[in-house]
């Protein structure tokens, strides 16, 4: 004991004070601040998603169009990787050293401690070889997922494809999707995404600091299982679709076939097409770019996105409306002297001098003069001002769902073009114009844009004698075979049933009776009712168009075929439609060999520029199809031909 004895209290005081500071701090982080508890949970809990199998897509008879195939994502945890033979590794998974380094650096940048995808979608074959050596590469492991596989490689535009979700998809879904999930990007995959995707399951795993699994949290009480996506029975007929795609090889255009009694789409061909399997797997990005820059635009969904003036098939609508307005009767005759004179000195020509025709014959021979007269009657002699006559006519056409979307269950449908009276009023700076100012509408030329789907729908409407069911791609959904109610509703087009018979008679004569425009496409035993069209193409050769239904009574199929740059409707479009009808109704093709081969071998693609052709080849306009034809002034129409 000495004079400094009291200093013991200072020192003990300091000890106690420091201990109190420690306790206060401990009290704060342990009892008051709850964020550490959450962080500890974050550390140790891993929500491992269990990916559900995506729903299968079948054709109408139950054949598989899209199925799933297992692939393997190679994951890496950089911290656990030990030196190994990288060359052997690269060889096994099929990448080079540069790519390896890049990928590895990327993984390190993401995180040293947690796993990230090193290489996506190893195929089962690659995985099999790699799996045996996997133990040599600590830090790497494999998770399996499934990707789409298309056994027949058909119907690419119809089925669409899936891809990784974008940031926007994630945002829009309100957190349903996570980075790396797949989502339908186009086609049926997109429009039925919510049914096909299924329900993701989750496993709450506990992991240690090195992300090694340490078992299920709470013995798996909070785990959920994945629910597979619903199977989708599409309306497509696989055989018909396949045959249609074969027929359209090396041609640009579309085929749409509809079952008139249900609105179900039987075939949906967009040509040129691509192999949907290209949009799957590790080469997807490369393939996508290639397809996207292809001048023939295989990704363009022609049946719903390409708009064409319909050409002469439009005469069917004008014939129906003319009767409905009471301006013509089945026996109304007009005389054709080789053209229709609507003012000025030059006529809207016919290819032949048809003489006097009644309604049915006018369709059979596709007489322009007849329809010039019918159109003039509807506009100029309707008992009202021509502009009001036009309005009534336009309303009638619009009821056939022309100029508006059919709201088919595919994304990106275009509505086409049906001009309004104000277009002409503006153009002629007065509403005192008459039928002669837009006479080309009488024969389906001019300011009209109709998609192949709309054409097929008109054929189905005629087949049904006055109504249509909304065309759709899906026959039934899931186990319960659910059908949306809107698909069972009849949509009437405002033309009485009795007015159809003479038109159908004419359409039958087109195919089955000389001098019909498509007698080359007649089939023994099946009465096809159709109408050819030859669509004026200001950019190149005319487009070959044909729409039809068969058989005449109790029709089973309505079809529209467009072959760009195919010339006359009867040369390409009609035979293709005829072959498909036969295939669908009899499940066979009993034609001469050359008949089929001519079509299979026919090449109507735009010729390459080096071709020794005097005139430079036009751009593959066909693909652009936005083809707003230049406003047809009355003078220009003089060169129109009928077919």
């Amino acid at each position: 004991m000495n004079s400094f004895f009291p200093r013991r209290y200072v020192i003990q005081g300091i000890f106690i004070a420091i201990a109190l500071v420690l306790l206060l701090r401990l009290f704060y982080i342990q009892v008051i601040d709850k964020s550490y508890l959450l962080s500890a949970k974050d550390n140790v809990l891993r929500r491992i998603p269990i990916f559900p199998a995506r729903g299968l897509i079948l054709d109408r008879t139950g054949k598989v169009l899209v199925q799933n195939e297992p692939v393997y994502d190679l994951m890496v945890i950089p911290k656990e990787v030990k030196p190994f033979d990288t060359l052997e590794f690269c060889r096994l998974i099929g990448i080079d050293k540069v790519a390896f380094d890049k990928k590895f650096q990327k993984a390190i940048r993401y995180s040293r401690y947690t796993s990230s995808i090193f290489e996506k979608q190893l195929s089962a074959v690659t995985y099999a070889a790699f799996q045996e050596k996997l133990y040599e590469y600590p830090g790497f492991y494999v998770v399996n997922r499934s990707v789409r596989f298309y056994p027949d490689s058909i119907a690419a535009q119809f089925l669409g494809y899936i891809g990784e979700v974008s940031e926007r998809d994630i945002e829009k879904s309100g957190g349903f999707y996570r980075k790396g999930d797949y989502i339908g990007k186009t086609g049926v995959e997109k429009s039925y995404e919510e049914l096909l995707r299924g329900q993701r399951g989750v496993q709450q795993l506990m992991v240690d600091a090195f992300n090694r699994p340490k078992g299920h949290f709470a013995d798996g009480r909070y785990d959920t299982i994945a629910v597979s996506g619903e199977r989708l029975i599409s309306s497509l007929d696989k055989n018909l679709q396949k045959f249609g795609e074969q027929l359209m090889v090396n041609k640009i255009g579309s085929i749409v076939a509809i079952e008139p009694s249900s609105g179900e789409i039987l075939a949906f061909v967009s040509s040129p097409s691509y192999n949907p399997n290209l949009m799957v797997g590790r080469q997807r990005g490369k393939n996508y770019n290639k397809l996207n820059t292809d001048p023939l635009k295989p990704m363009f969904i022609r049946p719903i996105q390409a708009e064409y003036p319909p050409g002469s098939i439009f005469k069917v609508i004008n014939a129906l409306l003319g009767q409905q307005f009471g301006l013509i009767k089945p026996d109304t005759r007009f005389f054709c002297g080789g053209g229709y004179y609507y003012g000025g000195s030059r006529p809207m020509k016919c290819t032949h001098v048809h003489g006097s025709s009644d309604l049915a014959r006018s369709i059979q021979v596709s007489c322009n003069t007849y329809y010039g007269n019918v159109y003039a009657a509807m506009i100029d002699r309707s008992g009202m001002r021509p502009v009001n006559g036009f309005k009534r006519w336009r309303e009638g056409v619009a009821k056939f769902n022309i100029g508006s979307r059919l709201d088919i269950d595919l994304p990106h449908e275009r509505k086409g073009l049906l001009p309004t009276d104000s277009l002409y009023t503006k153009r002629y700076r007065s509403d005192k114009w008459r039928s002669g100012y837009n006479i080309s509408l009488s024969i389906g030329q001019g300011e009209l844009g109709i998609t192949p789907l709309q054409m097929a729908n008109v054929a189905a409407t005629v087949a049904n004698r006055g109504f249509f069911y909304k065309p759709h791609l899906v026959k039934a959904i899931g186990e319960k075979k659910f059908i949306k109610p809107e698909y069972t509703k009849k949509n009437y087009v405002g033309v009485d049933e009795k007015h159809f018979e003479p038109v159908i008679q004419g359409m039958s004569m087109v195919v089955n009776q000389f001098p019909g425009t498509a007698t080359y496409s007649a089939i023994h035993n099946i009465e096809i009712c159709g109408k050819t069209g030859t669509v004026q193409n200001p950019h190149g050769d005319d487009h070959s168009v044909f729409f039809a239904f068969a058989p005449r009574n109790n029709p089973k199929i309505a079809i529209a075929v467009v072959v760009e740059n195919g010339g006359h409707g009867s040369t390409w479009a009609a035979p293709i439609a005829s072959l498909l009808i036969e295939k669908y109704l009899t499940d066979s093709t009993k034609r001469d060999k050359y008949y089929l081969e001519r079509i299979l071998k026919g090449n109507l693609l735009p010729r390459p520029k080096v071709a020794p052709k005097p005139a430079p080849v036009k751009k593959p306009d066909s693909t652009s199809n936005k083809q707003k034809p230049k406003p047809a002034t009355t003078n220009k129409i003089a060169i129109l031909r009928n077919d």
Partner: protein
């Protein structure tokens, strides 16, 4: 007098109890820290907790041996202990094994000797011997110089390893000097310098210097007439400013980058929970997630699944905090505080100045480890790699702390005797 020969004669049982309690707590927490559910055996000499059991037994035997030794032994031999320690500290620089960047270990067979651990008690002993010699006044410059040398030589040698954590331990002996008569201002000035150090690192040198001058100006203005006061303030300000620039220089040029980073993490200047701040962040998560009552024995996910590095050695307190919660932490801290208060109470009841000084040395060193170690796990002080006495895993540290404490117990047991 036969009784006095008895091993446990006059032993302070409170300290023994706390010592054993801390060792047992340590052992259970080491078990929890390295617990492997797949291999849940309690005693297995291949595991850390198995080895620790062996160390505890060894330490107890060693403690008993110390109690058996003659009292005069420690006083008489303290210069020799000190000398041997210094030799070992030099030797380790040449033949030592480098573990974790520190040249701190001398391998002897399968055992590894850590001379810096022994420097703690040998320095305390020599300091006690010197300060207990008669007619010394700590106010004398010569006395201060010798005390300073006793402390600085081992500190400098340990710095050469470089083991900053162990070296810093010796600063705690300032409490001993204070108790023995060093001016109370020393502590205040020490605290001020620490404050200045932190301020300098947090803000720019120039701002702190400006602040100092402003404070000095205010003080002088308020007390214009007192000349000596003005002189003191002026000198103090100049020294402080020099110090600030030294800090700046030392911080940027002398400290190693990982040390700089640890300080920056504590000061909140860098936020990097995945890199530099990883240890501290995970440590805080472990302790913070313990809540009031803890997750329960062997239930700590942070420690069980290896999120906290060094968790059985320097970060053992994480396991305590996570599995036993605030309640467990409180018990551990209370045990330490009781031990420290008890040691000082015992030291003050000695007749012998030697024992008293040594007792203060023991208390100071234990306090420093206790404060720095727990403080770093909860983010109050920078990460400094020193063990938590009696609890952290490790033979060298357990045995050296045991020697440190048991020498004091032995000296205390003989308080009635005359040296």
């Amino acid at each position: 007098m036969i009784n006095q020969r008895s091993l446990f004669f006059n032993i302070d049982w409170i300290i023994i109890f706390i010592y054993v309690a801390l060792c047992v707590i340590g052992w259970f927490n080491i078990h929890a820290a390295v617990y492997d559910p797949q291999n849940p055996s309690i005693v297995d000499l291949d595991t850390n907790y198995g080895k620790q059991l062996l160390f505890i037994v060894t330490a107890l035997i060693l403690g008993a041996v110390i109690l058996l030794l003659d009292n005069k032994f420690f006083n008489a031999f303290s210069p020799i202990f000190y000398g041997v320690t210094l030799i070992l500290l030099v030797v380790v620089l040449f033949v030592g094994r480098n573990v974790g960047g520190n040249q701190a270990w001398i391998p002897i067979g399968s055992f590894r000797l850590q001379p810096s651990e022994f420097a703690k008690f040998s320095t305390c002993l020599l300091l006690a011997k010197y300060l207990s010699s008669t007619n010394l006044k700590l106010q004398d410059f010569q006395t201060l110089l010798i005390c300073g040398l006793i402390l600085v030589i081992p500190t400098a040698l340990i710095m050469l390893q470089p083991d900053t954590g162990s070296a810093l331990t010796f600063t705690s002996l300032i409490f001993v000097l204070y108790r023995e008569g060093l001016s109370g201002y020393t502590l205040v000035i020490g605290a001020l310098f620490i404050a200045l150090f932190v301020l300098t690192l947090l803000y720019s040198t120039w701002i702190v210097a400006g602040l100092l001058i402003a404070v000095a100006a205010v003080l002088i203005a308020s007390n214009k007439k007192n000349r000596s006061f003005i002189t003191t303030i002026a000198i103090g300000t100049v020294i402080s400013i020099i110090f600030i620039f030294c800090v700046d220089f030392a911080y940027n040029s002398i400290l190693q980058s990982h040390q700089r980073n640890r300080i920056d993490v504590i000061l909140g200047k860098i936020h990097d929970p995945r890199g530099e701040g990883y240890n501290l962040n995970q440590s805080k998560i472990a302790i913070g997630s313990g809540g009031l009552w803890g997750k329960g024995y062997l239930q700590g996910t942070q420690t069980k699944y290896d999120f906290v590095p060094e968790q059985s050695t320097d970060f053992i307190f994480c396991t305590v905090g996570e599995e036993w919660g605030f309640a467990g932490s409180f018990v551990v801290i209370a045990l330490y505080v009781t031990l420290l208060i008890r040691i000082i109470n015992l030291a003050e009841r000695q007749r012998s100045a030697f024992t008293r000084v040594y007792g203060y040395g023991v208390a100071s060193i234990l306090f420093f480890h206790f404060f720095i170690n727990i403080g770093m796990t909860i983010g109050l002080v920078p990460v400094i790699g020193i063990p938590l006495p009696f609890i952290s895993y490790g033979g060298s540290s357990l045995i050296s702390f045991t020697i440190l404490l048991f020498i004091f117990l032995k000296l205390d047991s003989n308080r009635m005797g005359v040296i």
